[in-house]
Amino acid sequence: MTIKAQSVSKRYRSPVSKASVIDAVAGISLDINVGSSTVIYGPTGSGKTTLLRMLSGISKPTSGEIIFHTLHYTETGDRKLSSFRERYIGYVPQRSMLIKDLSVFENVISPNAFRQRHIRSLKSAARTLLERLNLEDTAQRKPDTLSGGESRMVMIARAILTRPAFLFADEPVSELDDDSAKLVLDLFSELKRDGSAIFIASHEPLAFGGNTDLYAIKNGRITEHTRGGHR
């Protein structure tokens, strides 16, 4: 299984001047295969998040195409694209996106509970995962009582609960201490070994799990592509 990006661009209207436009991503092509790891790194505002959101099917490119099997993102309706995300995509957002009224445990389960999975197995998987990430003591806490790092770990748990085929993580270790970051990257490596594709957006070239594709991005364009080894 592969997600193919072909000359993908995203253009926004400038929030300052409505007449001018910003090319957040400009003509990027890359493939994401299951069992691979990819890190895209660059400074703030370079287009990492925009690219990651397009690849994960959350937003559509302005031009170019992203293809998964026979699914062409730009030609696909909301219903099919939602089903695709639900079935194949795990997503860790850059900023805290947790449901403030629900507990950590409920936050991990809720978005994954809409179809095809039994609630009992989801609960059991969530307990195991929270334990693995040393979050068992926070399970009944509300998101507003968590630190930045804990919130990030909860979002990671939510994204990988159903072991998605493609995991897109935006700055997943940015607020974590070294031990937690290692724990998360080890978990990502394990997912990769089990056949998931891991795609990370980061400020720095973060290589993990061996044979990671490293893409440098600047002003919406890929400026360098290398292959990194173990972290």
Partner: protein
Amino acid sequence: MLLNMIWLSLVNIKRRTLFSVLLFAMAFLVACSLFLANLTHKLLSLPDTVEFRQFFYTVLYSVLAVSALMLSAISAVSTNLRREEYAILRTFGAQRSDIFLLAVFESFFLCFFGALSGILLVMLLILTKALYIPYFFEGIMRVSLYRLIGIGGQAVLLSVLIEVAVSAVLLFLILRKDILELERGRL
């Protein structure tokens, strides 16, 4: 799928205690006032009860109007405050119809049980004469059980419909937007 939806609904009801209690209470009031108004129409039909009837109608329809308005307002505020949650669920692949169904389940649980408990309480108060309304006790004994269930059912249905309709209209407006706009919190 059904079990998951029930679990999600109950979790949301439990975690939003303030809104849940308010919606429950308003459904309770809507059902009570409508039930009593229908009983008034049924039981106070004799010419010598005209004044009683007019008094009851004034009070009950006022309560009905205010509580229905409150139910709609609380439902609207509650739905509107959950835009970011809907963005999160949509990001993870929930369909618009899934979110709509979840809202219907929550509304149904709260309003159905709120309205039902309102009607049962009214019946209990009348039958134990704790709520003494002239002609009611004697009259209610003559009404068939099926007719009473019909009048009660109508009141429950109206409560549920008000809440479901208001949240459905708002959800339609909110969920038209794409995920990024939902995240930014624009309606």
